[in-house]
């Protein structure tokens, strides 16, 4: 029998062929139909393909699927809970932090990973965490605003 891998994506276990070796990005998009994770460069430079591995932001175009077998993979599709948006998704809508929206999933996943480990990031911390994410439409000011807004929403709901 051909060797397989188990990927746990957004809480669901998927068994996929182990061969040939391929990136997590192509597995998510072309095999599991999770197309919210985008291709933008394939060289770790744009962040459109960002997912979380055990809660930490990672470039899925630079990640071999085999390397993350069994780990907890979260994509943009997995940020909602029971139909309720993640506070950062809400904040992106409120701040109007998108134009074409193609970078948006990667931005939100990167931002959500940051907020998970730092609930009140400074401007410099946000910029550092998102420096690898490109928005060619230039919505950076709004993305910064959305992350700050989400941080304050999360603080309020925690209080």
């Amino acid at each position: 029998m051909a060797p397989t891998l188990d990927l746990v994506v957004n809480g669901t276990r998927h068994t996929i062929a182990a061969d040939p070796p391929r990136t997590l990005l192509t597995v998510l998009r072309d095999e599991l139909d999770l197309t919210g994770t985008k291709y933008g460069c394939g060289e770790g430079q744009c962040g459109a393909c960002t997912v979380m591995i055990d809660g930490v932001a990672a470039r899925s175009c630079q990640t071999g699927a085999a390397a993350v077998a069994g780990r907890r993979i979260t994509t943009i599709e997995g940020l909602q809970h029971n139909g309720r948006l993640h506070p950062l998704q809400e904040a992106f809508l409120e701040a109007g932090a998108m134009q074409c929206g193609y970078c948006t999933p990667g931005m939100i996943v990167s931002g959500a990973a940051l907020l998970a480990k730092n609930s009140n990031p400074s401007e410099e911390e946000i910029v550092s965490a998102l420096q690898g994410n490109l928005c060619r439409c230039g919505t950076y000011p709004r993305i910064l605003a959305a992350i700050r807004l989400a941080a304050s929403k999360m603080k309020r709901s925690a209080a």
Binding site: P20, R22, T26, R29, D30, D33, L34, T35, G36, T37, K38, Y39, G40, C41, G42, E43, Q45, C46, A48, T75, I76, E77, L79, Q80, L85, Q89, F92, L93, G96, M98, Q99, C100, G101, Y102, C103, T104, P105, I108, I126, V127, L130, Q131, N133, L134, C135, R136, C137, G138, T139, Y140, P141, R142, I143, L144
Partner: protein
């Protein structure tokens, strides 16, 4: 409104002209079979030629533009596409306003050649001045036919019958003073799908049985394929290989297999040696220039002869890439001799025409649909990926998807044209008396000065050029404003005038004066003293019906590239349709403009792009972000103009002027931090 197409728009012929259809058959190398075309000869002869169809008139039937079903669900049809500029939202607002319907009841069908009226394309900032009024007229006519209370009583029985014979010309759109939906910050249609990752772009489409395509690219521009050994690729299971004219490509059941098949092709190329490189570019442009078409007033000779002080300077503008985050993508599916294509393009009907020419089919056999696209910025006027996917799909007998790699997008798309601009001028008593302006290859749009000058000559000179070049957000106007507004500052210095005052003294146009003043006021212009590496610059301009002015604060530390730390941009485009989205557009233009102003430049040599990756071609990132303040002037007495392009024009000259104020150094090349990389040094000024 008059509109002069920019020189580079629309003119490109399709990337391929396939042999089949024309010869009545085509060959596939995959499986070694010869497939006889389904195409009837008479049909094949109907197609061909560059049917640009500029003059096509818009349909007058309401039914061509909107449909209302018995439940009151409204479908609006437009050939415009959504590439991030928020046309989907502003057109939804336009329909909602005039119908009196909730925005949520309206669904737009955009850019579908089978369902939407013909449209030249989404470019030139035309959606707002042309399509918004068109949709408003259609919706107003529909409201008048249905009666005022349709959405209150929810009585839509027979709405489609009532509208069937209606015409758009009978509609009376509301005056601006009565707007309730237009003019407000309605939030983005499909925003929720975008933030949840469910919004489907072309590159996300997957059809049953679909294959993944890859195209064999020449090793350099203009290279010709001498020989290709494809047998290893053909022997791979499930792989289709196509070689047809200049096209060689593969299709396979997975992206990985397509990659392997492509790599298995051994190709030999010949390419002419070329002298052109980014190092010699500007002197080559000058060397190959043609005479310009003269435009002007007064006598430039007389003006210069009489001027107290004279000045001349040369400015250069590098090639830059659009680099939309979603590269070119297409999915193609054949059904007999009928072709359906989904692709991210700004010109669905143009791509339909390109496909018709490439495949020698009538346009009526081809349907092009444009899903909302991961941006374009003028860079997606053409249909390369669509043609490639369709060619492979034809051979494979299955749908094929092509998504260009980032490197392909950086290499085989087209670029914003580079250019050289020469200016000669004269001033007397703080007034400009002579202005001569020659633009080589950068494009004619925005060539003419808005300043009040008695003697002037302004010419655009076509040249030969080394790279495939085309439209870009505000392409020529950005180049022309860079030269003009830099030179204005130089003249201000020459006549010992304060830069803003100097501009206002030479300017009558009230709307232009208003944006300059508004930007200066918000910026606190003139309140702080420049020096010690900190400088302030201002620049303004007009293009495509709208006015912009930018103030920039720049920090220059020795040995480091200049940094733009604060930008105030004032913008006026008539009556505002959606304030928050307009602000978003202006901010985005400033951010995107940072790249072209400071560091973006396509480097090339001997037919190869040297920086075809994001790791080599630097685009603006979070850390480059200045503090940006946008001042919107709302002129509700004026018809709305587009806003996608003009706001990008004046950052570069404002920054160049700020660098001068900080350091006394005048940089005359875009990008500013690359200065005089050109060995031929056309930059540099000398007073005459």
């Amino acid at each position: 409104m008059s509109y002069e197409p920019e020189r580079y728009e629309l003119m490109a012929a399709p990337a391929y002209d396939f042999s089949f259809g024309r010869r009545g058959f085509f060959k596939t190398l995959g499986g070694g079979i010869v497939v006889v075309s389904f195409l009837a000869k008479s049909q094949a002869q109907e197609s061909g030629g560059g049917r640009a169809r500029f003059g096509r008139s818009l349909p007058q039937q309401i039914a061509a533009w909107l449909h209302i079903d018995a439940q009151g669900a409204v479908t609006v049809y437009t050939g415009k596409v959504e590439v991030g500029q928020n046309a989907r939202t502003s057109l939804t607002q336009a329909a909602a306003e005039e119908l009196g319907a909730p925005a949520g009841a309206i669904e737009l069908v955009m850019g579908d050649t089978a369902r939407t009226p013909f449209d030249m394309g989404t470019f030139g900032s035309m959606t707002t001045p042309q399509m918004v009024p068109q949709i408003r007229r259609a919706a107003a006519a529909a409201r008048e036919i249905l009666g005022p209370g349709a959405w209150e009583t929810l009585d839509f029985a027979n709405a489609d019958k009532k509208l069937a014979s209606g015409v758009t010309t009978s509609g009376h759109p509301k005056p601006t003073s009565e707007w309730k939906v237009l003019g407000t910050s309605v939030s983005k249609v499909h925003g929720r799908e975008i933030v949840t990752g469910s919004h489907r772009y072309t590159s996300d489409i997957k059809l049953p049985g679909m294959l993944y395509g890859r195209v064999l690219r020449p090793e350099r521009f203009d290279a010709k394929l001498v020989a290709a050994e494809t047998s290893a690729a053909q022997a791979m299971p499930g792989v289709t290989v196509v070689r047809d004219g200049d096209f060689t490509g593969v299709a396979a059941p997975t992206p990985h297999q397509a990659q392997l098949a492509l790599a298995a092709i051994q190709a030999r190329w010949t390419a002419p040696e070329t002298q052109w490189s980014s190092k010699t570019l500007f002197s080559e442009l000058k060397r190959t220039a043609e005479a310009g078409r003269e435009r002007g007033a007064g006598s430039i000779e007389k003006g210069l002869a009489e001027a107290e002080r004279k000045h001349q300077a040369t400015y250069t503008i590098a090639y830059i890439a659009h680099a939309p985050l979603e590269p070119r993508a297409a999915v193609a599916e054949w059904n007999g001799d009928r072709l359906t294509v989904w692709t991210g393009t700004q010109r669905p009907f143009g791509v339909q025409s390109e496909l018709a020419q490439a495949f020698h089919l009538p346009e009526s056999n081809i349907r092009v649909m444009v899903p909302d696209t991961g941006a374009a910025y003028g860079g997606k006027h053409t249909g390369e990926a669509a043609i490639e996917a369709a060619r492979l799909a034809k051979a494979a007998g299955k749908p094929v998807k092509i998504v260009w790699t980032r490197e392909e997008e950086f290499t085989w798309a087209y670029f914003r044209p580079a250019g050289v601009i020469e200016v000669r001028s004269g001033v007397s008593n703080g007034r400009i008396v002579a202005w001569e302006f020659h633009n080589y290859n950068a494009g004619a749009s925005g060539l003419n000065t808005m300043y009040d000058i008695p003697n002037k000559r302004e010419e655009f000179h076509p040249t030969q050029y080394p790279l495939r070049q085309g439209s870009y957000r505000g392409l020529a106007a950005t180049a022309n404003h860079f030269a003009r507004e830099s030179h204005m500052d130089e003249l201000a210095a020459l006549s010992q005038s304060e830069p803003l005052e100097f501009r206002l003294r030479n300017l009558k146009d009230e709307r232009f004066r208003a944006v300059l003043q508004a930007a200066a006021d918000r910026f606190g212009w003139g309140k702080r003293k420049a020096g010690a590496g900190v400088g302030y610059g201002i620049a303004g301009g007009f293009e495509k019906g709208s006015y912009v002015a930018t103030c920039a604060e720049v920090h220059c530390e020795s040995g480091q590239a200049p940094r733009i730390v604060r930008v105030v941009e004032a913008f006026e485009c008539g009556a505002i349709l959606n304030p928050d989205m307009l602000k978003n557009q202006v901010e985005g233009a400033v951010v995107q403009g940072l790249g072209g102003a400071l560091f973006e430049a396509v480097e090339f040599e001997n037919g190869r792009i040297l920086d075809a990756r994001f790791s080599k071609y630097r685009v603006p990132r979070f850390r480059d972000l200045p503090k940006i303040e946008v001042v919107l002037l709302n002129r509700r007495d004026l018809a709305p103009a587009g806003a996608g392009e003009t706001p990008i024009m004046t950052l570069a000259p404002a920054a160049a002027n700020a660098i001068y104020s900080a350091t006394g150094e005048r940089i005359r090349s875009m990008p500013l931090s690359r200065r005089a990389a050109d060995g031929s040094t056309v930059s540099g000024a000398a007073a005459v």
